[in-house]
């Protein structure tokens, strides 16, 4: 099998969000699509207690040859796919660099400290401003709102994958993703998920 070309090797992608947003499923599906292109994918994830309302990250290393560390070194993310805006900032502060790109779901999930009034969640414009300073290119998309229109907020992660594919940074094709949807979720769930993927792609690719 011919191996797809990469713009960086390893290409470092961080998918981040809050426990329960479907981080793990998104990283696995993406990993499988890239593996089917003949690439090596190493994924580092957070599970268990950290899932319960905490910040979660999946580190994806995509390479033409071999496994890499399941933890991306600091300052070395090429792309941040954030299901929550404050988590995008958290990740960029540690793993960002002047060339980093980010796709950010614009809907905040308040930390318990913000709900109880012990801390303040940053205002939207302030957060957008900080994200702009830390990225070379950035897309802010209303993934949760679009997902709700499709019937459930959980589709946001698939919308984000569609958006990532549309950047053209990684060799993810609609056909490849459809095949993975069929394998992972079964035929009944393919149409809505594919619709979610297309919605995401349209918001980035135009």
């Amino acid at each position: 099998m011919a191996t797809a070309k990469l713009i960086h090797d390893p290409y470092n992608l961080i998918i981040t969000g809050v426990g329960g947003q479907g981080n793990v499923l998104a990283s696995r599906m993406l990993g499988n699509v890239l593996t089917s292109q003949g690439l090596w994918v190493t994924i580092g994830e957070t599970f268990g207690a950290s899932q319960r309302g905490g910040s979660v990250m999946s580190h994806l290393r995509v390479s033409a040859d071999g496994s890499w560390s399941p933890q991306i070194p600091e300052g070395k993310a090429h792309m941040v796919l954030a299901l929550e805006p404050l988590e995008a900032l958290r990740v960029l502060v540690k793993y960002g660099n002047p060339q980093a790109k980010a796709i950010v779901n614009s809907r905040p999930i308040l930390p318990v400290a913000a709900i109880s009034g012990k801390a303040e969640y940053p205002a939207t414009e302030e957060l957008e401003g900080m994200l702009a300073q830390l990225t070379a290119q950035r897309w802010s998309i209303p993934a949760t709102e679009k997902a709700m229109e499709l019937g459930a907020s959980i589709f946001a992660n698939i919308i984000m994958i569609g958006a990532l594919a549309a950047t053209g940074d990684l060799p993810v094709s609609r056909e490849g993703f459809e095949a993975e949807l069929l394998r992972a979720l079964g035929p009944a769930k393919v149409p809505t998920n594919l619709e979610a993927y297309d919605l995401g792609a349209a918001m980035v690719g135009g």
Binding site: T35, I43, F47, G48, A49, S67, P70, L89, L110, V112
Partner: protein
């Protein structure tokens, strides 16, 4: 026949290796990061003719797996690091008696305590109990090494330990699967030989002098095999400036750090997969390469100390070495490692400059850091029964007004030590120790202690280690109350069944052994409540506190919000009536958001009133009972 390369989770790779080795029996107790191993084998059980069980605890699981080995069936046992502590008494004796068919104990450590309340080290058991230890360093090796571990076990006639860590077990990477053999062989335990006949006699670690010598001979045979093992490899120049000795996932951190520093031409890396006992000839060949050695490993300096002992023994041949590692502070002695920590250590030793990103960007990121690091404290999920349970226990202890407290235990409800559970847990130690400690605290009225004590336990934890503690409390007449938070499965690790459930690991029907029946049989009074009914729960909890003359048990039963039966269902539509919510004008001082603190609630700044976040709300409706104004309205969904 080799399959196509797939991206597999480390635990899945271990499962695949076991299946390729023809494993027939697997047992374990759930614990992050090990749980998927038994789960995957259970899923494959019917297809490949396996028997797989989630045992009541780790010790029993090891006993079940040992029985399989003695009956001639290859067996695997899996557990997290502290599970080995639980199983260790049996492990000591099994190591002395030896096994028959290949038997592998997979123990998964959690450096950095990513999902544990400890970062305990389980490699020491291999040295302490004189068993061979293997540590895979990537995903392919996790598969290949597991398969080989069964052959090694049969070759030497003893159990083999295989240690994984969270960043391998729960990470994923490329694995080329092999062929899974058809199941064969009839189970039979041969016991007619003499006590000294290891193949056919009764099984015991006695007579000790004889068996212990035999055990050490087995270990020596393992060392011979380790000398030529393909799982030990060297990459680097013939005579490097620095030799790195590493094992486990740290090997990938070293690879990454050397690539970033562009130092591969100066540093040699000896990656060891067979880490106890160390093969001395192999070690000597590589230690001779240079005078400086850095040992990269996680948790305790286990490898470092063993390398140093070996180096001291061969000092006459190899000369004195300068060692870097955990003991001299080159690498941190707590927490997990990552490529950056290894890079910093290497840059320091080699005197190399490193800048991950431009200084200006770094400064900017540091300035923004305080905003970004706003803590996202772990919280009970929306709709979690534990939030309601601890709310009621908090109310009951406050009304009781004797400064009573709760001894906690291990599970999702451990989070009740944090704000999400109102800081209600005052002790949090090992599995089952909430009830055990409460049984102790309860006795101290005789020394003037006038605080009532309660213990909480999950349903799976109840079976694992609480039952003996409860018997102790009943028998010793300790005035304590046990609250069992029964959420219908081993929720934290992914809904594994336990003895109270109606299906086993393989999905086959089994008779549930009910918690009520056990407690009543011990003579304890039992009350069962739905924690979502706050009033009934608080009344029941107060009754427990009012009369502690006998041991009492309160079972708070409501399925986990993420359980298969509840996930995705929303029994109520919940809304805040803005006419009724008095907002900041209410005397409640934002009780719903500031105190109750469910993630499904929010405080609207503009209106100064509460609102429900419909994306997050699970529709349990408990907050409707919390609002003193009755402003939170729940209506049943059609």
């Amino acid at each position: 026949m080799q399959g196509q390369r797939r991206t597999m989770m480390g635990n899945q790779a271990i499962t695949q290796g076991a299946l390729e080795a023809g494993v027939r029996v697997a047992a374990g107790y759930p614990g992050t990061p090990s749980s998927e191993i038994i789960q995957n084998l259970a899923n494959a059980a019917d297809e490949h003719g396996l028997y797989v069980e989630w045992s009541i605890n780790e010790k029993v699981s090891l006993e079940v797996a040992a029985a399989a080995s003695l009956a001639g069936l290859r067996s695997l046992c899996a557990m997290k690091q502290n599970g080995v502590n639980v199983a260790s008494d049996f492990l000591l004796h099994l190591a002395g008696s030896g096994i028959r068919a290949g038997m592998v104990l997979v123990h998964c450590d959690d450096p950095g305590a990513l999902s544990s309340v400890n970062e305990g080290e389980s490699r020491h058991f291999a040295r302490m109990l004189e068993l061979p230890l293997l540590e895979p360093s990537d995903f392919q090796e996790a598969k290949d090494m597991t398969k080989w571990a069964f052959e090694l076990s049969e070759e030497i006639g003893n159990l083999v330990m295989l240690r994984s860590v969270t960043r391998l077990s729960h990470a994923s990477g490329g694995v080329v699967p092999g062929t899974i053999p058809a199941p064969q062989g009839k189970a039979r335990f041969d016991h007619h030989g003499t006590l000294l006949d290891k193949g056919h006699g009764p099984v015991s670690s006695s007579p000790v002098a004889y068996k212990h010598r035999l055990q050490q001979e087995k270990l020596a045979r393992a060392v011979e095999l380790f000398e030529d093992s393909p799982f030990n490899s060297y990459v680097g120049p013939e005579s490097p400036e620095l030799l790195v000795i590493t094992s486990s996932i740290c090997n990938l951190y070293v690879k990454e750090a050397l690539a970033l520093l562009d130092a591969s031409g100066r540093v040699g890396v000896l990656k060891l997969g067979t880490t106890w006992p160390l093969p001395p000839k192999l070690l000597q060949r590589h230690l001779e390469r240079c005078d400086r050695v850095l040992v990269v490993e996680e948790v305790i300096p286990f490898l470092e100390e063993n390398v140093k002992i070996a180096a001291a023994e061969m000092a006459g041949e190899i000369g004195a070495k300068r060692f870097f590692g955990k003991r001299d502070g080159t690498l941190p002695a707590q927490g997990e490692l990552n490529p950056d920590l290894v890079l910093k250590a290497l840059a320091g030793i080699l005197d190399l400059p490193y800048q991950a990103r431009p200084k200006q960007y770094d400064r900017l990121a540091q300035e923004l850091a305080p905003q970004a690091t706003q803590e996202r404290d772990l919280a009970f999920c929306p709709g979690c029964p534990h939030r309601a349970s601890f709310w009621s226990l908090k109310e009951a202890l406050a009304l009781d007004a004797r400064d009573g407290f709760i001894c906690g235990d291990i599970g999702c409800y451990s989070l009740a030590m944090r704000p999400t559970g109102y800081g209600m847990l005052k002790t949090l130690l090992a599995m089952g120790s909430g009830a055990g400690m409460a049984s102790g605290f309860g006795q101290f009225g005789r020394f003037g202690m006038d605080q009532p004590v309660m213990a909480v336990s999950g349903d799976s934890t109840f079976y694992h280690a609480v039952i003996p503690a409860l018997i102790n409390a009943v028998h010793q007449k300790s005035p304590m109350s046990l609250v069992v938070l029964d959420n219908s499965g081993t929720a934290m690790t992914g809904f594994q069944p336990h003895p109270g459930t109606e299906a086993n690991a393989m999905g086959h029907p089994v008779p549930p052994v009910g918690i009520e029946a056990i407690c009543r049989s011990l003579g304890a009074e039992v009350t069962v409540c739905d924690p979502f009914d706050l009033e009934a729960t608080q009344t029941a909890a107060l009754a427990l506190l009012a009369d502690q003359s006998t041991a009492k048990v309160l079972i708070l039963r409501q399925a986990c919000a993420l359980s298969p039966q509840r996930k995705g269902t929303k029994p109520y539509d919940v809304k805040v009536d803005p006419e009724k919510c008095l907002g900041d004008q209410c005397g409640c001082n934002r009780l719903c958001t500031r105190v109750f603190g469910c993630p499904g609630l929010a405080w609207e700044k503009q209106s100064g009133k509460a609102r429900i976040d419909e994306v997050i709300c699970a529709g349990c409706g408990v907050c409707a009972s919390v609002c003193p104004q009755g402003a939170i309205i729940k209506s049943e969904r059609a």
